[in-house]
């Protein structure tokens, strides 16, 4: 099927031309973005892709039993932090080209198992506990371009890197056609900068022109997949951080239980020192857990906590939307929101699955990441109220003492 190209915007999308839009599956034409609205749509898609990976990574991380698998825990955590940086950089890119990032929408959060959007790979991404299977899923997500160099078919892209290549090429073309000023028409005040979100995963750099836009794209792709033909990412070239293997390779280290040694290449498995990975030291969860399922059981505690988790997740998304849409300083409110998620996830994981049969087979309760419109609205209300009570501006230190927990 050859997708046709609509000059007025993307087929099947709704909304005005000036906005990036939240899309359902298969609504992006597999061709280079040819105008600003299409570029924005691609960037909104990138936002969804970066976000999509976070719930599965968090689930793997929070199902590790406390005190075990420290290497794996901190590795996955460092990847999560970088994905959050990627989301921020994509939001900066989208804002820079005059778009409006949308993250607090029910359809922004896919239901799991989810399909990687715009992907040619028939891969579903479930919420899995820390396990070899989870690692294999993550490897598929982060698979570098040079591991599979085939061109995108009509069905989609074969790697996230390829997807960003399209964005990069489209951006360069548009700058040539329209001029840098016309393309980078977004307001500078909407950019999330290093003072707003520093040190976690690298640096949130503001995007104001082609140079910074290309740098942001480079950070995203190289942290994920690695420099061309190498295992390491470019962090040490870009930020002065110590060398660190790109996401794909970090996950492979966990999966194989070995670190990459000095003579290893991207195409060969790691041969360095072993990592102490204990797959049995994880809380096993049901990837198909759902709120509706939990509601069926007599003991409602799990159901309540799972709902509370989803509410907290909606609040986090609301905070991000506020930060990405003109109040970058308020990114910091995402921090206590993330800690709340951590606490709720850990509580769920410590409790057996309410189904007696699953419990007897060793399954624990888990977060479901299901968000509906009602929860989004509630999240917006709470997040806005917090923003009102918190006095944050660039001239003051970040001080959250006035913030009320929910």
């Amino acid at each position: 099927m050859t997708p046709t190209h609509h000059p007025s915007g993307v087929r099947g999308a709704t909304g005005s031309e000036s906005e990036g839009l939240v899309l359902g599956d298969q609504e992006l034409p597999f061709a280079l973005p040819e105008n600003l609205p299409e570029l924005r749509t691609y960037l909104q898609g990138a936002l969804e892709i970066e976000h999509l990976t976070i719930p599965p990574y968090l689930t793997a991380m929070y199902t590790i039993r406390a005190g075990t698998n420290q290497d794996a825990y901190y590795t996955i955590r460092s990847v999560v932090l970088e994905e959050m940086l990627h989301m921020t950089l994509v939001a900066n890119l989208l804002n820079a080209v005059g778009g409006r990032p949308r993250v607090a929408r029910p359809d922004f959060v896919r239901s799991y198992p989810a399909k990687l959007p715009y992907s040619a790979l028939d891969v579903t991404i479930p919420l899995q506990h820390f396990s070899p299977e989870a690692m294999r899923t993550f490897l598929l997500i982060e698979r570098p371009q040079h591991v599979d160099d085939s061109l995108p078919s009509g069905k989609g892209w074969t790697s996230i890197g390829q997807f960003y290549d399209f964005i990069r090429t489209g951006l360069l073309t548009l700058v040539e056609e329209l001029g840098e000023d016309k393309v980078f028409c977004g307001r500078r005040e909407r950019q999330v900068g290093p003072a707003d979100f520093y040190n976690s995963g690298g640096e949130a750099l503001p995007v104001t022109d082609l140079t910074s836009a290309l740098l942001a794209l480079r950070v995203i792709t190289e942290q994920g997949e690695g420099l061309h033909d190498s295992i390491f990412d470019s962090n040490d070239q870009l930020f002065g951080e110590q060398r660190q293997a790109a996401h794909y390779f970090r996950f492979n280290e966990i999966r194989t239980g070995r670190t990459y040694g000095p003579h290893d290449t991207p195409d060969t498995p790691p041969t360095g020192p072993e990592i102490d990975v204990r797959w049995d030291q994880a809380y096993r969860i049901d990837p198909n857990a759902s709120i509706a399922d939990y509601a069926r059981y007599e003991d409602t505690a799990v159901h309540e906590h799972a709902v509370a988790f989803n509410n907290a997740y909606a609040e986090l998304l609301a905070h991000l939307e506020i930060a990405f849409n003109g109040l970058p300083r308020f990114m910091i409110l995402g921090v206590p929101a993330m800690l709340r998620l951590r606490d709720l996830a850990e509580r769920l994981h410590h409790n057996p699955h309410p189904d007696p049969d699953k419990k007897s087979r060793g399954y624990f309760a888990s977060a479901t990441f299901e968000i509906d419109q009602h929860q989004i609205e509630r999240g917006h209300e709470i997040a806005s109220a917090r923003v009102h009570t918190t006095n944050l501006n660039a001239k003051l230190p970040v001080d959250l003492s006035a913030v009320e927990p929910s």
Binding site: Q70, S78, A195, E241, V335
Partner: protein
């Protein structure tokens, strides 16, 4: 990344500089000189390993399992390079006993510790970065006590700025200007101040109130000021003329650098590596800097011409055994930066640098008097045990003519409840449960359990306020470090023998401080619980009686003065660049050089002095290596060469 070497690699090799001690001062000197291309060997007596992620996690576990969370608790016992521990001291009815590394023969205990490890005491410091006040440099001239510095605040100001950039200090420059401590009106710190705690805000309710000091016979007005920290906070985009500042993250794990999130365990340990430690400086060492841990320098070696040749050091493998092998390394310049007490001990053992007779003398600290109270129940909880140990203080008593009458003091507003004074919150649990029984040894019948216990603890602990009064102690020749052949450690090195006391001037300051504390608590409506009196005939550690009143002080961890700086070789050990008068290529760097300590935590001043010394050491080395310049008019003289001037 920091790379360390085995001590054997340096054997009989020659370096431009040998630095003894990989603490704050030593690391900064080594980094600066390395950046300028000099070959530097840093010999550290203690062990390393914390610069890796595994080492950091190991320290987290060690700290969490320690029963008493004293400053050295994340570190393992090291028989080869022992460190003093606050637990070494115990009251014994009449005075005190000192077990462990120090031998103490003074009237009063020197209650301060330090750490011999890669990073030194910088691994467990609180992180407060105060500059000294201009008046602090000339207390003898202005107020008639103590010793004056041969340089002034203005000489040190550019180095203070450099020190704040190097460490990455979070603070409010406007407040420091109001205190008379900074001059440039456009100056800001690299990062915004750490937000004041709720406890600080409770204390701020007294802003504008006056308190009477009966010893100085003067009224002082209370204003709460935030204190600058060497701790990651929000970068200030205005810093360095708008260049901003990028905080340094954790050492050993990329992308893990965090800002302060209120773990409340800074002393001894920051689990998220927000607080600056020398490990960050070491991670930036140039390749020409070699760091060798587990190398105890046993002698600084003198040549017959008074120029230092190098050092003798012993390396060990197993810290619990102290079995070691001796080696020698040579250098053009030797810098001892091992802590004021260790510097004195080493130089005394080497028979060096004591033409003045002042080496080891003038041992100082900030004797700190602790007071504690419960705020009124009506006021509600004040939220202790959150955030760094102290984020603000009352500064008024540090300055002014009252210093002539009594030692000045800085009031640290404590954020950690009665932790230091009374071992809270664990002690509260013990007390509530009646652990230990009553005075007759019977089971306490009024012990509380369950819900009542939780409420009691929440209520009590939540209203704990501790005010720490850090006294300036002036240089006193009789407070000193010496060595004695009879007292040696497991490796056979002489242990420091300390003789310590408090002068009348300091005791009067403590008297004033105690009265000020009570006045403050009264104004807050808080119920004071300070008790310095003997219990069952046993006086607490650091106890003394003055005019029929009981007082107790603790050590602050601020060793200073033992290789005092001055303008005259007959009365000081080092010059203003911390170069030993007696040996032109030997530097003694650290708080030991300070002629006075003022009422500010000394680390920032130490760093400023170290950076200034590093510049001078560089000049010395350049001087040593620069070729003689023969200037002659070869062209004019025709065939013959006439040397008209020789420039050495």
């Amino acid at each position: 990344m920091t790379s360390t070497a085995n001590g054997t690699v340096a054997h009989r090799r020659r370096y431009d500089v040998i630095v003894v001690g990989a603490g704050m001062a030593g690391s900064l000197v080594a980094k600066q000189l390395g950046r300028q291309g000099w070959q530097v060997l840093v010999l550290e007596a203690g062990t390393g390993g914390r610069e890796t992620w595994e080492g950091h996690l190991d320290a987290v576990e060690t700290f969490r399992s320690a029963v008493a969370k004293v400053p050295n608790s994340p570190f393992r016992r090291n028989a080869a390079a022992p460190s003093p521990d606050v637990l070494d001291l115990a009251p014994d009815g009449v005075g005190f006993t000192a077990n462990g590394y120090f031998v103490q023969n003074g009237e009063l205990p020197y209650g301060t510790d330090y750490l011999r490890a890669v990073g030194g005491s910088g691994m467990h410091w609180m992180g407060l970065c105060l500059r000294m006040h201009p008046d602090d440099f000339a207390t003898q001239a202005r107020y008639g006590y103590g010793r004056d510095w041969p340089i002034g605040y203005d000489d040190l100001e550019p180095y203070y700025t450099a020190a704040e950039r190097e460490i990455g200090v979070a603070g409010d420059a406007e407040e420091q200007r109001a205190l008379g401590i900074r001059s440039d009106p456009h100056d800001v710190y690299p990062m915004h101040k750490i937000p004041p705690s709720y406890v600080d805000e409770v204390c701020r309710s007294l802003d504008g109130h006056t308190v009477h000091d009966p010893v100085a016979v003067e009224d002082f007005t209370l204003t709460v000021f935030s204190v600058p920290h060497g701790r990651n906070s929000t970068p200030d985009p205005r810093y360095a003329g708008g260049l901003g500042y990028r905080p340094t993250g954790a050492v050993g794990l990329p992308n893990y650098g965090e800002r302060c999130v209120g773990n409340a365990s800074c002393v001894p340990f920051c689990p998220v590596q927000a607080r600056w430690t020398p490990l960050r400086t070491q991670a930036e060492f140039a390749d020409c800097v070699t760091l060798a841990p587990r190398c105890v320098v046993t002698q600084v070696i003198n040549g017959s011409d008074g120029r230092i040749r190098g050092v003798e050091y012993r390396t060990y493998d197993d810290p619990e055994s102290a079995a070691s092998r001796p080696y020698r390394a040579e250098a053009d310049v030797v810098v001892v930066a091992a802590h004021s007490i260790e510097n004195a001990r080493l130089l005394l053992a080497s028979g060096l640098a004591n033409g003045s007779g002042e080496l080891g003398r003038n041992l100082m600290d900030h004797p700190t008097m602790l007071t504690w109270a419960l705020t009124s129940a009506d006021g509600g909880q004040i939220g202790p045990f959150r955030g760094p140990g102290s984020t603000s203080g009352w500064e008024a008593f540090r300055f002014g003519d009252a210093r002539a009458a009594r030692a000045p003091f800085r009031i640290e507003i404590g954020n950690w409840g009665w932790g230091w004074a009374a071992g809270a919150p664990m002690s509260n649990v013990g007390t509530a449960l009646g652990v230990g029984g009553d005075r007759e040894g019977n089971i306490v019948s009024a012990a509380v359990f369950g819900t009542k216990l939780r409420h009691t603890l929440g209520d009590q602990i939540g209203r704990q306020l501790q005010l720490q009064f850090a006294m300036e102690q002036p240089a006193d020749r009789d407070n000193r470090v010496t060595i004695d052949d009879r007292y040696r450690d497991a490796m056979g090195n002489p242990r420091p023998v300390l003789t310590y006391n408090l002068s009348e001037h300091v005791k009067k300051g403590i008297v004033a401080a105690k009265r000020v504390a009570s006045a403050i608590y009264a104004q807050l409506g808080a119920q004071e619980h300070t008790d310095h009196s003997p219990r069952d005939g046993v006086a607490p550690l650091g106890y003394f009686r003055y005019r029929d009143q009981d007082y107790t002080y603790a050590g602050a961890g601020h060793g200073a003065g033992t290789h005092i700086m001055g303008g005259d070789p007959t009365s000081s050990v080092v010059d203003s660049f911390q170069r030993c008068w007696d040996h032109p290529n030997l530097y003694a760097v650290g708080c030991g050089s300070m002629p006075s300590v003022g009422t500010s935590n000394p680390s920032l001043t130490m760093v400023a002095l170290a950076l200034r010394s590093a510049e001078q050491i560089h000049r010395d080395l350049v001087e040593l290596h620069r070729p003689a310049n023969l200037s002659g008019d070869r062209a004019r003289a025709g065939g013959s060469v006439t040397i008209t001037e020789v420039h050495p």
